[in-house]
Symmetry: C2
Subunit: 359 residues, 2 copies
């Protein structure tokens, strides 16, 4: 097991990474004060919930379970209401621990429920997808979707701890594994040229679910994200660089109806668009944009958006939460590992990049 600390003053928390961690009562015990509610979904729960429950009970907790349907469409008011109802019905108090067991949807939703239940109770993440292990479990962002925008309603609420059991990735559908690879590529492309090169060399091992490669990739990716989040918890500055590919990615997700494209797939195509835009804005060498596109393709991920017209893409972006005072913002690249957030981008270049990618 390897552990790293996300340094956020009084809200600092550990991330534990290794195989078989979900069974270890000692990882949960420091965060328990009598009661816990495991929030999971109907796909993940049969695989891992009994083991997490046993570990929590071994640590002395009275445990409640809340099972949600699987999928992005779960991430809205009704499921939030269901979780809150369950916490109330179990008479959980302010000292309860909410344990999110599943992927990003479960983590975002359970984290938001924990953020607002009785104005905030503790929560602990047990991410079981690669994407959740390297992305949504680090940084304290919680949210649900609005019909007109992803993650429009949420809170910053840091977990008490994150338990990344890489053994749970063995049961992950291939498509979801690939979606997680998109996030690894994003961290390399935006923040660390050496990690990007490591990914270029090891993408084959990751696709074959080599345990050692996965553990290294999750650790390095969490380190990169944790460093950024420590500097900029509320996303006032540097943290926004982690949104490489997201302005386009969210537009793809919204345009296709949340759930038909996985978040990682949308971000993958979004990164190709962002790289194209970076080239057109005169910031990125064409060869580096091609390296990004090539790695994404080798990872089995989409390199182009679905059949959105440039106009539809533009409209969708206008309602994206990145829009400040009516302008969408884009993370661009000045090189591999060197993301930047320019004040404004010519709308014409955006249209051109979308048109080029759609061909």
């Amino acid at each position: 097991m390897q552990s790293l600390s996300v340094a956020l003053g009084s809200r600092s928390y550990p991330i534990h990474i290794g195989g078989g961690l979900i069974d270890r009562a000692a990882l949960y015990a420091p965060h328990l004060h009598g009661t816990a509610a495991i929030v999971s979904n109907t796909v993940v729960a049969p695989l891992y919930l009994p083991r997490v429950r046993a570990a929590l009970e071994a640590a002395g907790a009275r445990v409640t379970e809340v099972l949600l349907p699987d999928g992005e469409q779960t991430k809205g008011w009704p499921a939030l209401d269901q979780v809150i109802d369950a916490l109330v019905a179990a008479r959980l108090g302010r000292d309860a621990l909410v344990v999110a067991l599943g992927g990003g949807v479960v983590g975002d939703l359970a984290g938001f429920a924990a953020a607002v239940y009785q104005r905030g109770v503790a929560f602990l993440q047990v991410p079981t997808t690669l994407l959740a292990q390297v992305d949504s479990s680090v940084g304290g962002k919680t949210a649900i979707n609005h019909v007109r925008g992803k993650n429009m309603i949420g809170a910053f609420h840091q977990p008490s701890a994150v338990v990344c059991d890489v053994a749970t990735l063995g049961s992950l559908p291939q498509r979801e594994l690939l979606a997680g690879l998109a996030e690894l590529i994003k961290h390399g492309a935006a923040l660390d040229a050496r990690f990007f090169e490591w990914l270029e060399r090891n993408v084959g091992k990751l696709l074959a679910r080599d345990a050692e490669a996965l553990e290294h990739a999750v650790l390095r990716s969490c380190e990169l994200k944790a460093a950024v989040v420590s500097e900029d918890e509320r996303e006032a500055g540097r943290r926004a660089l982690l949104n490489l590919g997201h302005t386009f990615g969210h537009a793809i997700e919204a345009g296709t109806g949340f759930g038909s494209w996985l978040h990682g797939e949308a971000v993958a195509a979004g990164m190709v668009l962002a790289a194209e835009l970076s080239v057109r804005a005169g910031r990125l060498a064409r060869a580096d944009a091609e390296r990004i596109k090539s790695l994404i393709a080798r990872a089995g991920l989409p390199v182009a958006p679905p059949s959105l017209s440039a106009e539809a893409g533009g409209n969708l972006m206008a309602v994206d939460k990145k829009a400040a005072a009516g302008r969408a913002r884009f993370v661009l690249l000045d090189g591999i590992g060197r993301a930047a957030l320019p004040a404004a981008v010519e709308p014409r270049l955006v249209e051109e990049a979308i048109a080029a990618a759609a061909q």
Copy 2:
């Protein structure tokens, strides 16, 4: 105009108290970044919204309005959804300012909407009831109700500023004025014997809406609450003393269906119960309990709960959000102005106090 600062480090904010303040663009200007959404209700809006809107526009803002029905039953998911929908429809970004114009319901709901919209935007309170001016506008508590408990879903989200225009109290229905007096009495009884004595001498002037007396009472009450909140923003310790009368009060509100008793009325009867419990626990002199009951009666407020059986009261309290690990907690009095939060209270004494008050 008098101003005080609620000292909370980087989240410190001013409270301005005086007559005619809602028209002053200069009080809003420092908190605007282009867009504002006024959240109000259908009773308050016709009286004051055009003036607040004019002041915001004079300060350079593009203004959106969201009007909710009046009353405590508004404080739930549907109205929250309505506010969020309106913010999305107006394409407001993270730099928007939410302006809560109305009483505690509007303030709590609009504040919670601001806390969760895009993971948090700024908000400014313009409380138009006495209760909101002295209670809900100070401290950053925002929330909505759950069908099984008041304020079960919420967030701590400090306002950017509070504008208390005491002239708006002229239009307040008498019953709501009295409900605000309950909060003043609570602050005196829990925290400041001298202010309690001032209230004993000046309750007549307050009932007659003497402007000078109201301004002094709002200022002193905000000062008392601000001092406590500065010490203990997240209600880990001393801030809980402000909940004098609330464990019983919430039970009364829940037992009668939220809305038929005003919050202040429930807290008034709750304080009499808490004083009775304090006497039975051997902490408070009977004469001091009588002073509290007498002042509450002189303020035209209820001194006894409605026809709840002791059993119903006990059941209701069990689901109250104050319940930690299945035990309700009570703020008791060791004297006028000296509230305390004992670790536990004998359930038998609680039943006796409820039974005594019901007679």
